[in-house]
């Protein structure tokens, strides 16, 4: 079977579509969180004391049900997206390593953000906080990747 390995520039089209898909996945994920928790978690009552108690806690069963597919899905998406930084020439490897550490760290904190509350700590607001930080960092990664293509 003969292939055409010389058309590697076409991978940039694939990567751009991937970035578009990921923006839509992030948006729909935030939207899902918003409709289950109520949008006021993000947009209203920025009085810290009120905000702190606004987020509804899932049960242990709920945490496992949400965390299991997200560990696979977010981990896989992050790995596939970040590995393209290995091939970018306009982006230093030190920055790529820093971004990857940051994103994987935020991913775990986002997925397990309900854990401290389930263990009895008063930390419900960690979920929207880490979700916001993860989405923002992922969008920065996407911007860097788009720019480095």
């Amino acid at each position: 079977m003969k292939g055409s390995p010389k058309d590697t520039y076409l991978y940039t089209i694939v990567i751009r579509y991937m970035l578009l898909f990921i923006v839509l996945i992030l948006l729909s994920g935030v939207w899902l969180f918003g409709i289950t928790q109520g949008w006021e978690v993000f947009f209203e009552r920025w009085n810290v004391a009120m905000f702190w108690h606004k987020v509804e806690m899932p049960s242990w069963h709920g945490l496992i049900e949400i965390a299991t597919p997200h560990l696979w899905g977010m981990g896989m998406t992050l790995f596939v997206t970040a590995h393209f930084l290995l091939f970018g020439e306009r982006f230093s490897q030190r920055k790529a390593i820093f971004m990857s550490f940051l994103l994987f760290g935020l991913m775990f904190m986002d997925i397990f953000a309900y854990l401290p509350s389930l263990l009895g700590f008063d930390a419900a607001a960690l979920k929207p906080l880490f979700m916001f930080l993860f989405v923002a960092a992922f969008l920065v990664l996407e911007g860097l990747l788009w720019w480095s293509l």
């Binding site: 003969k2 390995p5 694939v14 578009l20 990921i22 839509l24 729909s28 409709i35």
Partner: protein, 156 residues
């Protein structure tokens, strides 16, 4: 994806086996995904209309928006990986750059718009729902035909 990039013109035997394996799995997934959507949403226009908008005559409530959004969220993720796998194999295996570019844009655009149309249909009219059905079946048909074609190309 980049593991497909080699300077060799011929694919190694291991890569041929791997590509065939993933394409066969993908083809079966695509068929089962149509069945899964038919079961959860309905596949005839009337069944879809009843699921999404409900029916007063049959005492059926409309589908909750959260359930639909979860479906769209999952569909986007699954579509992303199908597009990534098929597109990267197409770039490596197909021969002309023009054909590759057309396939990539067709895969990407129909893949992006299919879940978006389902979301828009929830808030608008039955016509958009029908467009979603056409896009859904079109994208699945495109990916199935492409998978079979790539298997044939790799085996040749």
């Amino acid at each position: 994806m980049r593991f497909l990039l080699t300077k060799e013109k011929e694919l190694r035997p291991l890569l041929v086996v791997l590509i065939n394996g993933v394409l066969i799995a993908l083809s079966i997934y695509l068929i089962m995904d149509i069945v899964l959507h038919a079961v959860t949403l309905g596949m005839t226009p009337d069944a879809l209309r009843t699921t999404l908008y409900g029916s007063e005559e049959q005492f059926v409530e409309p589908m909750p928006f959260g359930t639909l959004l979860l479906q769209v969220h999952t569909d986007l993720f699954m579509t992303l990986f199908v597009v990534l796998i098929l597109a990267s194999i197409s770039v490596r295996v197909l021969e002309t750059a023009r054909a590759k570019r057309i396939i990539l844009h067709l895969l990407g655009l129909t893949g992006v718009f299919t879940p978006i149309f389902l979301l828009i249909a929830y808030f608008t009219t039955y016509t958009v729902l029908f467009i979603w059905l056409l896009f859904f079946l079109g994208w699945h048909l495109l990916t199935l035909v492409l998978s079979c074609f790539l298997i044939w190309k790799v085996m040749r």
